[in-house]
Symmetry: C2
C-alpha cells in the first residue's frame, strides 16, 4: 500500500467510524470566532461573550471541549492578543488558538529562506519581530533599504543625505515582498516597494518592467476600519489601493499577488480549519464535520466563509477525481506505466497566481480531513446592523437591538458610506469582487451568546 | 457704445495698428522658457544658456527686449527661483518673470476669500506661506485640521492622543481643497482630504457622498521626476494617483478637479501668455503674434504647447461667433430685445469642471490680445533624447549629442520606463490622455542656444 492508498484508506475508515458514532460525547464541529465586534468592542467585552466561551469548556473552565480559534485581521504577536483576550474576558485563551492576519504566513515555507522586503506597522512588536515569529530568516526592512540605497526615499527633503553617499553594492537582491499591514510614511514604502518591483529586487539597477514580477505576499486587505472618529479610518487595503494603482500607472500592467492573506481570503480560513483540526486531534476527536464561523462583518467574515465553501467544494471534486484516477490505475496495472505520485500533483499546483496556489506551499491536496462545510453565523454587535429587506435578516425582532449596554467603539471594518440602497460600493479587494450572494450568512443572531446557543442546538451538543 | 462694443473696437484697432507696422524694431513674439533641462540641470547651468538669454536683452544686458518668462512645475516662492536663476546663470531674472507650478492660482480670486484646506510641501517657504503669496486669506493647513479633529489622523499610533480629547466644533467648514505639491506622510493628507470631501468640509459630521463635490484645485501633475537615483522619483502626480483611486474606491465615483494647474495644463500656458503680454505692454510692444515655448519634455512642455494651441483656436472661434452675434444685434435693433452682455457670457462659463472653466475666474473671454500661436521648440539637454524614427527628430545629426560637458543630474520629469517601442505607457494625468500627435514639437534643436538662434531667424529679429 503506497502513501496515497494509505491516505485514502484513512479517509474511508474515518467515514466508517463516523457512521458507527463510536464517541457520542465528542463534538463533530469547531468554531472560528472573529474578535472585534463579536467578543470585544475595542477594549470592552461584549456582554455574554465570556459566557459563550465558557459554554464550550469543561466544567472547571480550564480546557475547551469544542475546538475554537480566534481569527482577526489585526496585526501583532499572537501571545499579546491571547493575553488581551484572556484578560478582558476572564476566560483562558492560548496563543496557539489565535490567528492574526499574518499568522498563515507560517505555512509559506518557500519564502522563509528567501530575502524578503518586509513592509508593515511598527506597533505591537513591529514588522521585523512579527516576520521572525512567522519563520522568515532573511528579513530586509524598509529602513535597511533606505540605508543601502540613500537616494531612493526622496519625497521628504529633510531626509536627503547631507553629503555625497554611495549605494551598498553588496546589498542582497530582494527575492520577494511581504506586506504585513499599513506602514507609516506611505510615500516611502510605496516608492521603495515599486523600486524593488521594477528592478527585480536590485534598485540601483535601471528599471525594466518586462519579464516576470517578483512574488508579492500581502496580509490584511481591509480598506477601512471603525476607530474613534465618526468616519472609518484607512486600513492596509487603502495602502494596497495606492500601491496597485501606482504600479499600474508606472508599469502599465496589473500588480499580481502571490497570495492575499487575512479574512476574507480562503488561505486564512484554510489555516484556521487546520488549526481547529490540530486542536481536535489533541482532544482525541476522530472527526470534524463543520466549522462555524461567527463574525460581525458580511464583507469579510461571511464573504470569507462562503468563499471557503466554494473552495472546499472544489477540493472535494479534485479528491474525487484523483480517487477515480487512482482506482483506474490500480484496476489495470501495466508494466512501465508510472503511477501519478503525490509529488507530481504538487508540481502541477505550483502556480503562485492561482487562488489555490498556497496548497503547494504547505501540504498535499490529498492530505485533508473530512470537514464538509463552513457555516456562517452573523452577529449584530459590530459592523452589521439589520435593515428591512436585508437578506441576512432571519432573526426575530425581539432579538435585535435589545442590548443597549454596548458603548460605540472599535469594530474591525467600516460599513460602506451612505448611498442609495440599490447601488453597492465595492469596498472589498480588487481581486475579490463583491456579490450580494457571497455576503449572505447561514444564520443571523443578535450576539455571540445566541450564536453559541444556535450552534449547540444545531449540533445537539450539551444543549 | 456699450462695454462690449468698446472692446471689439479696441480689438479691431489693434489689428489695424499691426498692419501699419508702426514700430518695426519691436519684436512681435515672446518666449516661455522651461528651466530644468533647458537652462539648468539641477544646479548646473546648461552651456550656452546665459548667452541665449543675453541675446534677448539690450546691449547693456540690463533689460529684456524680448518678453520672456520662466515656467517650471517646481514648488516655492518666485523670488527664490528668480534669485537662483540669476545667481547660477549670471543673467538678471525678475521674480515677476517666474511661473512656478502654483503661480496661476493668483488668478483664482473666487477662492481667495474661501476657507481652503491647503496640502503641500513644507520646503522652499512652505505651503502656507506660498498660499498667502498667491492671495489666499483663509488658509487651513493639514496640521490645523489634525488639531481641530484629533481622531482623524489614525495610521501612526504614536500620534494618537494620550487622553480623551474633543473636536473643535467652532472650526470653520472647509469650502475648497488646494493641493500645491507632494506632502510628506501621505497617509495623513490622503485621509484628511478624503474626510473633508466625504463630509462636505466638516469632518466631524457623518459621511455623505451624495450631492456636489467640494471644489478641488491641484497644482503640478508630474507623476515622477529624475533626481539623483537611477530610477525616477514620485512627484505630486503620484500623490494624485493615490487620492483619485482611494476616492473612487471609497465613494464609487471619480474625483473631479475644478482646475489642474502646472504644465501641461492650458491654465499655465494661458497664465504665461498673459504675463508675456503684460511685459510686452511695459515694453511698449503694440502686438504679439507668437509665443515660443522652449522645453525638454515632450509629455509636458510640448503636449502643453499643443494643447494651448487647440485652446487658442477654440477661443478664436468663440470670439468670431460673438462678433457675428454682436453685428447681427446691431444690424437689426428691436425694441424690448435685450442684447447679450458680457456678464451673461460670464455666467454661462461658470462651470468649474470644464477645461476652460478658469476663464470665468479671471476675465472676460473677449478681453484677449492677438497671440495667434504657441510654437514649441524641443531641446535635447534634458529628458528628451532623439531616437531613430522619432517624429520629433528634425535636427541635423551634427547638432545632436555633440555637447559632452553636461553632467547627468536633475531634470523635471522622468522618461517612461524601458518597454517595447510600440507600447507607450501613459504617464500623464488621468484627465489629459496621451496621443503621439500632442507630443510632437514644431522644432527640435540641440540646446537652448540653438533654440534662440532658430527663433531669431524665424522672426528675422536682430539676426
Amino acid at each position: 500500500m503506497n502513501s496515497m492508498q494509505q491516505k485514502f484508506a484513512t479517509f474511508d475508515m474515518n467515514n466508517n467510524n463516523s457512521k458507527q458514532d463510536m464517541c457520542p460525547k465528542k463534538p463533530k464541529f469547531g468554531i472560528m470566532f472573529d474578535i472585534d465586534g463579536v467578543l470585544l468592542r475595542g477594549k470592552t467585552p461584549i456582554p455574554g461573550a465570556a459566557e459563550a466561551l465558557k459554554a464550550l469548556m469543561n466544567k472547571e473552565e480550564t480546557e475547551y471541549e469544542v475546538p475554537a480559534v480566534f481569527c482577526t485581521n489585526g496585526f501583532g504577536l499572537r501571545e499579546v492578543k491571547a493575553a488581551t483576550l484572556s484578560d478582558k474576558l476572564g476566560v483562558k485563551v492560548n496563543p496557539d488558538q489565535i490567528v492574526m492576519s499574518q499568522t498563515p504566513l507560517e505555512m509559506f515555507h518557500e519564502f522563509h529562506d528567501k530575502w524578503c522586503l518586509v513592509s508593515g506597522p511598527e506597533h505591537d512588536g513591529g514588522s521585523k519581530r512579527v516576520a521572525e515569529s512567522l519563520g522568515f530568516t532573511k528579513i530586509i526592512t524598509i529602513e535597511d533599504l533606505r540605508e543601502a540605497y540613500p537616494y531612493l526615499d526622496w519625497v521628504d527633503r529633510t531626509r536627503w543625505p547631507n553629503q555625497q553617499v554611495e549605494d551598498d553594492d553588496s546589498f542582497p537582491t530582494i527575492e520577494a515582498i511581504v506586506m504585513l499591514g499599513e506602514p507609516i510614511r506611505w510615500e516611502t514604502n510605496l516608492q521603495l516597494i515599486i523600486d524593488v518591483l521594477v528592478t527585480q529586487g536590485k534598485p540601483n539597477q535601471p528599471p525594466c518592467i518586462e519579464g516576470p514580477q517578483l512574488p508579492v505576499l500581502a496580509v490584511n486587505m481591509d480598506l477601512q476600519w471603525m476607530a474613534k472618529a465618526n468616519i472609518p479610518r484607512f486600513g492596509h487595503g487603502a495602502f494596497l489601493v495606492c500601491l496597485e494603482n501606482l504600479y499600474k500607472k508606472i508599469c502599465g500592467r496589473d500588480l499580481e499577488y502571490t497570495a492575499l492573506i487575512g479574512k476574507p481570503s480562503e488561505i486564512t480560513y484554510e489555516y484556521s480549519q487546520k488549526l481547529i483540526e490540530e486542536i481536535a486531534t489533541g482532544l482525541n476527536m476522530p472527526e470534524l464535520d463543520t466549522v462555524y464561523a461567527i463574525g460581525d462583518n458580511p464583507l469579510t467574515d461571511i464573504y470569507g466563509a462562503n468563499m471557503f465553501n466554494l473552495f472546499l467544494d472544489k477540493k472535494r471534486r479534485e479528491i474525487e477525481k484523483k480517487k477515480r484516477e487512482f482506482e483506474l490505475i490500480n484496476a489495470s496495472p501495466k508494466v512501465g506505466r508510472r503511477s501519478r505520485s503525490t509529488s507530481d500533483a504538487k508540481v502541477e499546483q505550483t502556480n503562485h497566481n492561482s487562488t489555490d496556489s498556497h496548497f503547494s506551499l504547505h501540504g498535499d491536496i490529498t492530505n485533508v480531513r473530512g470537514i464538509k462545510r463552513c457555516t456562517s453565523v452573523l452577529v449584530c454587535t459590530g459592523v452589521y446592523k439589520p435593515e428591512l429587506g436585508d437578506p441576512n435578516q432571519t432573526i426575530g425582532e425581539d432579538e435585535v437591538f435589545q442590548n443597549s449596554e454596548l458603548e460605540p467603539s472599535i469594530s474591525p471594518v467600516a460599513p460602506p458610506p451612505t448611498k442609495r440602497k440599490d447601488s453597492v460600493i465595492d469596498h472589498g479587494h480588487r481581486d475579490l469582487p463583491y456579490t450580494e450572494e457571497m455576503t449572505r450568512a447561514d444564520h443571523t443572531v443578535f450576539d455571540v451568546k445566541r450564536a453559541i446557543g444556535k450552534i449547540l442546538e444545531l449540533e445537539n451538543w450539551k444543549y
